[in-house]
Structure formats: C-alpha cells, structure tokens
Homo-oligomer: 201 residues x 2
C-alpha cells in the first residue's frame, strides 16, 4: 500500500523523484526536510532554481553554460585560441579546468551520439562546432575529450571523420592505466588500450 | 582546486548541497540536470517547493502536515477517537497508516528530546499533546511510537512520566526481533529486548 500524502506534498515528492538518482524514498525524505525548514531556507532553493534557469544561458561561442555571453573562458585574453577541447557536458569543462596545463578553449556538445537513446548528430551541438571552425580559421587543433563509453567513443569517431575532410588536426585524450591505480585492478579493455597506446621510453 | 562555476550555478549547487544526504558531487549533478531540463520541467520543481511551503500547514489537532485544518484523519468519522498514537515525524504517520489494524488518531511531535542537539521538551509538540488531552476527555490511551533510538526512548520515557500523573493509559510499541529476520543477525540490544519482552505461548 502506497503512502497517502496531501496533494501539495505528493506533487513535491513527485517533482523531487524526477531528479536523477533520487528514488521514491529519498524524494520523500527531501520533501519532508523542505517542509520542516523555515520558509526562507526552502524558498532559497526554489529561487535558486528559478534564477539559474533565468540567468544561465549557453555561450554563443562554446555552448558552455554561462551568465555572460560570450563566457569567461571565450572572452579571456590568456587563452590559446588555436586549440579547442570538445567535451560532452558543462561539468567536463570544470573537470578539464582543474588540469593546470590546458589553456585552450572548449566546445560543449551537450550530449553524445547514442542510437540506443535516439540521440543523433543533429541533437548535440555539433553543427555549432562546425560553424565555429568555419568562422575561426585560427583554430588549428581539436582535442576530443569524450567519456570513455560506447557513446563517447562513437561520438569521437563521428567527429574525427567529419573533421578529417577539413584538414584540422584532431586528437583524442589517451586512454590507459589510471595513475596510482594497481595494474591488477585494471579491466581488460583498459589494459588492452594501454598496451596498444604504449609509449617508448 | 575547487571547480569554478558562474554565480547562479554556484548558488543552485549550494542550495541543493544543503539538503540532507546530498553531497557536493550529487548537488553538482542535480544542478546540471536542472539546467539541462527545459524551463517548464525545472520550474515545476521550484513551484512545487513554493506551493508546498505555502499550502501545507500543521493540523491544529494532531500537528501533522496538512493542507486542510483539521487534517483528513482528525476529521474522519471512522476513527477511534479514544486512542492517540504519538510519533516523532509526519512520515511516521504514513508508516503507521500502512498498518491496516490501527484506526485511532495521531499526534506528531516534530522531533525527539535530544540533550546532545539541545532539543528539549519545549522544542517538540508536547505542550500541544497535553492541551489536547485536557480538551478531549474521550482520549483513553496514548500509544508511544517513537523511534527505537536513544532520543526516541528518552522522549517516550519523558512523556510516559508526564502522563502517569494524568492517569491516561500509556503504552509503547513492542521491541523485538523483526519478522522474517534471522536471529543470527539481530543485535545484542534487540535480542536483550526480545528476551525481556518474551511472550507466553
């Protein structure tokens, strides 16, 4: 027997339940936490959602999430404008930014090609990347930094094939044994990649 | 090095991070999910929070969360008004309601006495319970259904002592081996309780 709650509580639980990784139990727990909070605290969350949706747009250059257009990175004078790192999601930009030795620009695809989920090349920001390459002849290299998943690999291959025609240098982040990890725990696919990409010392 | 996000995104992450059980990583994941949603979906969550905070109040009888005052249960004609089950939280009412053989009323304390967290008897809806007992002489039994925690036990003991003076019958949910659980996995405290509360067959 499902729990009965009043309509407003049921709706709040349902909306929280739609968030990724938030199951029915967690949604209930969060809803009752929000209801137990004082008004100011609870409305701070509602307002943060509203404001973020209102103020955050896509950078017209790199398609990253931003409140100013173009975004900070695209506007920066200290960036190498000849290199563009292509990532799947806005979070990946933040991950890459933690690497101190990359000072190029980014392009955010907002997804990866996935026939299983019916996501094709036209559903990600790929047309925007090609337009950008035409408009910015200073771009000399595209670094593909997709996730090491089937979808990520397929997307990288698709883009590499498209770019091959343009003559722009296209590279990909190397795959291999993670630093600090024990060889014993590396999966076969990773080991196979590491072997294939072995470097001369 | 922490990730840098724009102010509106940072604020959204911070507000999500304040929810119980939502760590920094999860808050980021949720924030980017909300930003990737279409406006209607994202604002449905913001509105659900806002509406729930606006429409949901405490029942003036039992202190449960409700949109109508008194709440459905307190207004119902099919309830045994001589028995009141005292619980810590609104969710506990829903849990108890799944038990088909309880048809009494409830009283929600909204917490438990916890000296460690500086929560005293005046910080929970205990005064409201005592007032209710004075106003409703038809109440004959109080069932204490606190959580089997130190705070829950302390709260139950405190209430039992208070009620002792009033002469109202006070009972507590029994503790013991959970149904379907293997004896081997029961902790010593539960076993000890089960032994003490053993029933004649």
């Amino acid at each position: 027997m499902a729990m009965r709650f009043s309509p407003a509580i049921t709706r709040l639980i349902a909306e929280l339940n739609k968030l990724p990784g938030i199951g029915a139990k967690t949604a209930q727990r969060l809803a009752f936490h929000i209801l137990a909070q004082d008004n100011e605290q609870a409305l701070a969350l509602a307002d943060a959602i509203r404001d973020a949706k209102q103020d955050v747009t896509l950078c017209s250059e790199c398609c990253n999430l931003t409140e100013d257009d173009p975004c900070d990175i695209c506007r920066s004078q200290n960036r190498d404008r000849s290199v563009v790192c292509v990532v799947e999601n806005p979070r990946d930009v933040s991950v890459m930014e933690r690497v101190q030795n990359f000072d190029g620009l980014y392009h955010v695809l907002h997804g990866a090609i996935s026939p299983m989920e019916d996501i094709g090349p036209e559903d990600i920001k790929l047309r925007e990347l090609l337009q950008r390459l035409q408009q910015h002849q200073e771009i000399e290299e595209i670094i593909l930094a997709m996730n090491p998943s089937i979808e990520g690999e397929a997307t990288a291959l698709y883009i590499a094939r498209l770019l091959h025609k343009t003559g722009i240098k296209t590279t990909q982040l190397s795959h291999g044994i993670p630093m600090g990890a024990d060889l014993e725990y590396a999966d076969a696919e990773t080991l196979s990649r590491a072997l294939k990409n072995r470097q001369e010392l």
